[in-house]
């Protein structure tokens, strides 16, 4: 396995925490410095989506749209037609939530080079509640032809992902989160727009995760290890196009698969992996995520706990799945 150069203090209680959206903000400024064609458009959420750094450094290239998400993406499509590289941001619930059709027609079918940033995804949005906790965006975006889908696991990966999609032609969706979450990777951790990355090796089961759930998957692996179970953890930061080769190599080794996402358990990462397994390697699969319900107001930590999206829950599901597998192979 390639050395993923993970944060050496990752398993400590006091591991560094930073919001994924902050990494995007830095990445956008870097992208803006690297290419004068990069412009940014925002639907009245400049500070909370961390476009303010870009707006301050490049005021002429920053376009305030106001609370108008349909115009957000269609004006961006127009700017792309005129040769710009537009990044558009809002909360994922509103973009792509509200403007999905315009994305489909004016960005995907039209093949315009627009980068859509959906912030505040997942239940960790917290007190704002269900209306603002977007859980369906991964599904909505991955089902669109000609749309890349990136879910960075931490702020450092968000920074790399932003720079990568700016430099790579084609529409892309990047999913960000509100809350401070563990910094899992380092500057040396590889990132590429067509690769999944094995972060931790193991031969007993494969846990495939995206976003802040990658940290939870690593915590689960740590707990399982003390019970004699070695879990392999894969960071699937690029859900589309999927790195089927890396994932199949892992699942063929372990024979048991769990996916974890802070999103509906259908249609997103879990759905993607289920399709891959169905096509190439049918195996026992458990999809950890929101079970066909919406979120609610609360503190991020208590919501993750309530909805079973922590390392402890993942470890419990893993043990249950392995018991089933052993039972199945005894009977088979």
């Amino acid at each position: 396995m390639t050395d993923p150069h993970l944060n050496p203090t990752l398993y400590n209680k006091d591991v560094e925490q930073e919001a994924i959206r902050a990494g995007f903000g830095r990445g956008l400024v870097t992208a803006g410095r690297a290419d004068a064609r990069v412009v940014a458009l925002c639907a009245d959420l400049t500070e909370s989506t961390h476009m303010d750094g870009f707006a301050k450094e490049f005021p002429d290239r920053y376009v305030e749209i106001g609370v108008a998400e349909q115009n957000l993406v269609t004006a961006a499509a127009g700017m792309a037609l005129a040769g710009k590289i537009p990044f558009v941001s809002s909360y994922a619930a509103f973009s792509p939530g509200r403007n999905w059709e315009q994305i489909r027609t004016t960005i995907c079918l039209n093949e315009t080079n627009v980068k859509i940033v959906g912030s505040h995804a997942g239940v960790s949005v917290g007190p704002d509640g269900a209306t603002h906790q977007m859980l369906e965006d991964i599904a909505l975006m991955r089902v669109l032809p000609k749309m890349r889908v990136i879910v960075p696991c931490d702020s450092i990966e968000a920074e790399k992902g932003t720079a990568a999609i700016a430099a790579s032609e084609g529409a892309a969706y990047i999913r960000l989160a509100r809350d401070k979450t563990a910094v899992v990777t380092t500057r040396e951790t590889p990132f590429s727009l067509d690769k999944a990355l094995v972060l931790r090796e193991g031969r007993d089961l494969t846990i495939i995760a995206c976003g802040p759930m990658v940290y939870q998957a690593l915590m689960a692996a740590e707990e399982l290890s003390s019970a004699g179970i070695e879990a392999e953890v894969v960071n699937c930061a690029v859900i589309k196009p999927l790195d089927g080769a890396t994932i199949l190599a892992s699942v063929r080794k372990t024979g048991v698969v769990i996916t974890v996402e802070e999103a509906q358990a259908v249609g997103g990462l879990g759905g993607t992996i289920a399709e891959l397994l169905g096509d190439h390697e049918p195996l026992p699969l458990v999809r950890v995520g929101m079970q066909d319900r919406f979120g609610e107001s609360g503190k991020p930590a208590e919501l993750l706990e309530h909805f079973g999206l922590t390392g402890r829950h993942i470890a419990a599901r893993a043990k249950a799945l392995l018991k089933t597998k052993i039972a199945m192979s005894r009977n088979g």
Binding site: A68, N71, A75, L81, K84, L109
Partner: protein, 285 residues
Amino acid sequence: MPNFVTVNELEKLANTIRQDIIRMLVAAGSGHSAGPLGMADVFTALYFAVLKHDPKNPMWPERDRLILSNGHIVPVRYATMARAGYFPVEELLTLRKFGSRLQGHPERVRLPALETTSGPLGSGLSQACGIAKAWQIDGVKSRRVYCVMSDGEQDEGNIWEAALFGAKYKLSNLTAIMDRNNIQIDGPTEQVMPLEDLHAKWKAFGWHVTEIDGHNFTQIIDACNEARAIENKPVLIIAHTIPGKGVDFMEYDFHWHGKPPTPEEAKVALHELRTLGGRIQSEHQ
């Protein structure tokens, strides 16, 4: 660059384009009649007297851009483009057919000279604003973006988002042209979802508004020229048109919004167009 052209020549071209539309729709067996026929004069004026463009160099960077927001009337655009030399006239009969560049609604990737993809209403003006805004950032003054939209399309919120945006950024290199034909699918616009007072609405949104007879070439061209002199506002030209203009049994009838003529109906329509309503003799009697 537009060559010098007379109103007479434009009228003849528009008549030919109307015939092309009828022939295309019959060959396709589906498509929209009222809008394309109604906008034949505006499109003829745009491609032959207004737009800075080069049919032999469709991606000429200095060209004006024409965005068609009400994408369903694309048959009139296809016909005008063919007559202007963008592709052979014979290709018009491939409209809506499998494998054609002339898709049912305009798709940029299949025919780049269409500038963008549209069909679902309400997005074109935003895209035109985006182009204008990009040019503003780059300090471009030598090109203009035009956006054709329909009146029925004014029901869409996206249009008003763009209206606010265009005024905020003072997009004076943008001219919108509205096909005010007073019909939409379910009936007259003022019965389905009343729009008036449209002029007052757009003026209140901060646009410079003029109203013209959409079948009068002098008015169309004058309005487009006047728009170029408006410094600090985007311009909206409300073009009053007759839906189905040129074909007596189609005019003013909203039922012709979304259906093509049958071969028998097309024969009658073509005869009327070729003889200018029976006023001249045609070899195609």
